[in-house]
């Protein structure tokens, strides 16, 4: 296409790009058929429908609190859930829902000591299987690790998978922002019953301001101009990124204070329901996945978990990619998911 042709195409391309950006909300995400099995407050446990379940041990997916778990099932053809179902796993999802002001008393102990064990109870009841693989991503990974540390030796989790999980936050950019005395988390948590998801997302985007606020949108326009835009891929990811549930204020206060101000998880100083969370008490088959370009949970902040756990079976996958791109990017399907499924399959027999 020469310069004149490009110039003539510009108005059409501008309209097309505007259409892509303006119809993001119409994109379909989380389309794999599933059934709600159990609910409590805003939390829902889903089981994905499958025609062929080869592996005995079901897989329970747990995501973070600041985005929706649809990223596990982004779009047909690029869905981790769909991939696991295709590999013969029985896949379950613990969805935290969309908390609101009435959930201000929901703290981390609810997620770790109530919701996760109750969901595991329901999975075991429905499947009849005594054990489960627990897969946590980001904050969901940290909460899965906390649960793993508190679980009794006879507990139901056989395999624990931590995806881009913050463990030691001492070098994280977040710590520079919210870990100092300048950031008064109590001021915010006392005034907001639920911290708006948009506010959390805005701060997340400030970590790479030009890339997140400008380059992503500029690339859409450029790709439309070049005639190589992938509308569905952009819209599904953009819709997911913009869907930010509020963070219950008690959980927010605890997360910021314990993880970023006091870095308690790696120091073994978090106490939930009177019990100390010690990573050294994790003795499950453990898989830790880190992303080389992760700026939210940098690799260096995840690796300390490997030194602390007492598991006999520990595996670490380090892959290129970012915090989300690692598992949901275009390369994940070929470069990450097969290894993850293979690791699970080897440990999911009766």
């Amino acid at each position: 296409m020469n310069g004149v042709e490009r110039l003539m195409r510009a108005p059409v391309a501008a309209l097309e790009a505007a259409n892509v950006l303006l119809t993001v909300d119409d994109a379909v995400i989380g389309a794999t058929p599933r059934d709600p099995v159990w609910t409590h407050r805003k939390t829902t446990l889903y089981r994905y429908r499958a025609s062929d379940r080869e592996h005995a041990v079901p897989v329970l997916l747990v995501f973070a609190l600041i985005n929706r778990p649809d990223i596990f099932d982004l779009r047909p053809g690029n869905s981790f859930v769909e991939f696991l179902l295709g590999e013969g796993f029985d896949v379950w999802l613990l969805d935290w829902g969309v908390p609101d002001d009435e959930d201000r008393d929901t703290g981390l102990e609810y997620y770790v000591c109530d919701a996760i064990p109750w969901a595991l109870r329901e999975v075991r009841r429905e499947t009849g299987e005594p054990e489960v693989s627990l897969v946590g991503w980001c904050i969901g990974g940290a909460m899965a690790a906390m649960y793993g540390a508190l679980e009794e030796p006879e507990g139901p989790v056989r395999n624990l998978v931590l995806l881009t999980t913050p463990i030691d936050t001492s070098g994280a950019l977040y710590t520079k922002w919210v870990g100092t005395d300048d950031f008064d988390v109590d001021f915010i948590a006392d005034r907001w019953d639920a911290v708006p998801g948009r506010a959390v997302d805005f701060v997340n985007k400030l970590m790479k301001p030009v890339t997140n606020f400008w380059t992503t949108n500029r690339r859409v326009v450029q790709q439309v101009m070049d005639g190589n835009s992938n509308r569905e891929a952009y819209q599904t990811m953009a819709k997911w990124v913009a869907d930010n549930p509020p963070f219950p204020s008690r959980a927010y206060r605890e997360w910021i204070t314990w993880m970023y101000k006091e870095n308690r998880l790696v120091r073994g100083r978090i106490r939930l329901r009177g019990r100390t969370v010690r990573l050294s008490d994790i003795d499950h088959n453990l898989l830790v996945v880190t992303a080389g370009a992760d700026h939210i949970a940098p690799r260096a902040g995840t690796l300390p978990v490997l030194d602390q756990v007492s598991s006999a079976d520990v595996t670490h996958f380090d892959r290129p990619g970012g915090h989300i791109g690692l598992m949901a990017g275009s390369k994940a399907k070929n470069e990450v998911w097969p290894d993850l499924a293979e690791w699970l399959a080897e440990r999911s027999g009766r």
Partner: protein, 121 residues
């Protein structure tokens, strides 16, 4: 051997230069947000935003309350009562399960009888 720069069309040159400038700006901004001073500014901005939002929300609620219309605070109060009811139902479920376990009518998969992990890797 031809110079690759000379082989570029003017449009390609403009695009390359723009992308270089954008990349450098992005890196500069990332260095900026890494400064402790940026954290202080962010903290102040957050506090001011929260305080303003709180004033606005309280004012809105006060207006609704004086008009005898249910405001957000009333909805939240009702929702919290529903939450408490749901908590109690969950506790009842647990009690029923414990009783079923005691009476031996609950399948073994749900009564915590899994094997020790060490034997299963």
């Amino acid at each position: 051997m031809p110079d690759p720069e000379r082989a570029e069309t003017p449009e390609q040159q403009v695009r390359r230069l723009y992308e270089e400038a954008e990349k450098e700006t992005a890196e500069a901004m990332e260095r900026l947000v890494n400064q402790p001073s940026f954290g202080r500014v962010l903290a102040l901005m957050a506090e001011n935003t929260v305080a303003l939002a709180k004033v606005g929300a309280d004012l809105g609620d006060l207006v609704l309350r004086n008009l005898r219309i249910a405001g957000r605070a009333d909805v939240v109060k009702l929702s919290r009562q529903l939450n408490r009811t749901e908590d109690k139902l969950e506790l009842v479920l647990q009690q029923v399960e414990a009783l079923r376990r005691d009476s031996g009518s609950l399948p073994s998969a749900t009564n915590g009888s899994s094997k020790p992990r060490a034997a299963q890797s």
